[in-house]
Assembly symmetry: C2
Homo-oligomer: 210 residues x 2
DNA sequence: ACCAAAATCCCCCTCTAAGGGTGATGCAGC
DNA sequence: GCTGCATCACCCTTAGAGGGGGATTTTGGT
């Protein structure tokens, strides 16, 4: 582990032009040092531990093992390294998969060099840097549909169904009769035009009702 | 709707000292205009529409109807207004509830005046409504336990259980036999030391296995 | 090349829980 | 005075969950 104040950086990116471009732009920044660059995860895995990076810039679209799969393996051999995802795509699933697998931040490739440099410093400070569009997407993913057809009680019960609870467990938890729970579930099914728990949850999550 | 470049602001906050303090600090900022202030949601709801604010600073700890419950009601009568949450607490649940109910940003009360002013301008630009510490919390909330005892397949099946799917639905979806699904579920139960879907989901979500 | 873990499939059993149908009642808001 | 909401009741059938006991093959790591 290095102890001075230089931030050691590794770049894993298959496109040579982009890779060298980033290495150059970051390398000339004071306090930032690009230790090494790799064109694939397979190449990186052999020696990246010796590079001892504090921040890894990781491309998602890699040949062979892709970035998402590479993420937990990288974190395993370098637990304290911060991984910043670089990608041209900004699909919701990709973002959440990356964050779930240990990414510390998420940058789209149209980010300016200064934004990337700023993010590297930020993540080192314990922050969670995200491009504006990513942050907006994450916030949006939390937002519930304010025009839900479901009542308060129905929403509450559907949430418990989402936790895998049975009718009787729900009844106990809400201090109401088993038959009342049944009634609510029937009404939920009617409103959502479904006839099973799985379909109700699918529809509800799709429409951000829960 | 006003068309000039002044940002119209409403403050809903029960503590008179804080309320007036914010109103004063924001009011003297060029381009920001505090149209009105209220001590409770009940007082605000009557006339806030006439105030036509673009940004609402909303306290969470309000007497009567609290901020979280007030949020969707505010958004209903003022759909285009940005709501910034003000609170002394920064619990994960509170933040996610606020975002789920339509908050655009989240500020703790120890934020400096300049930070608040900056946030108001930022949110008005439609951009980065998340402060660094909120982003960090969000990233953390997505992160899965890298030392999960569950195998890839088991995790996948537990996710489908989380969607409320039955054994046979899971079998069809994964192109495997119903009995194979059963085996996996048995192994999941053994590893997590549970004996029901609800308990498995509870344990898994608690330990960020799914 | 080997061992362990993972993934696949098979049959026994019980019985809870889910879902459809058709009601009723009291209460609140408009 | 209607409508939505929340509450509870009893009819019915069948699907599904969970416990127990196996087996085989494929895969990953050293």
């Amino acid at each position: 582990m290095n102890t001075d104040e230089t931030i050691r950086i590794v770049i894993i990116e298959d496109d040579e032009v982009i890779r060298n471009g980033y290495a150059f732009l970051i390398g000339k920044e004071p306090g930032l040092f690009v230790v090494n660059t790799y064109a694939s995860f397979e190449l990186a895995i052999k020696t990246v531990q010796a590079d001892d990076p504090e921040v890894i810039l990781l491309d998602i679209e890699l040949p062979g093992i892709n970035g998402i799969e590479a993420l937990p393996k990288l974190k395993k051999i370098l637990p304290s390294a911060y991984v910043l995802i670089l990608t041209v795509y900004d699909s919701e699933k990709l973002i959440f998969d990356a964050l779930a697998n240990g990414a510390s931040g998420y940058l789209t490739k149209n980010s300016s060099a200064s934004k990337i440099v700023e993010s590297i410093r930020e993540v080192k400070e314990g922050g969670g840097p995200m491009s504006i569009n990513i942050a907006r997407m994450v916030v949006k993913s939390f937002l519930r549909n304010p025009d839900s057809p479901l009542s308060k009680r129905e929403t509450q019960i559907l949430e418990l169904i989402g936790r895998g609870e049975s009718r009787s467990q729900i009844a106990k938890e809400l201090f109401i009769d088993l038959e009342t729970v049944r009634s609510h579930i029937k009404n939920i099914y009617m409103k959502l035009d479904v006839n099973s728990r799985a379909d109700a949850l699918k529809t509800a999550r799709l429409n951000k009702l829960i």
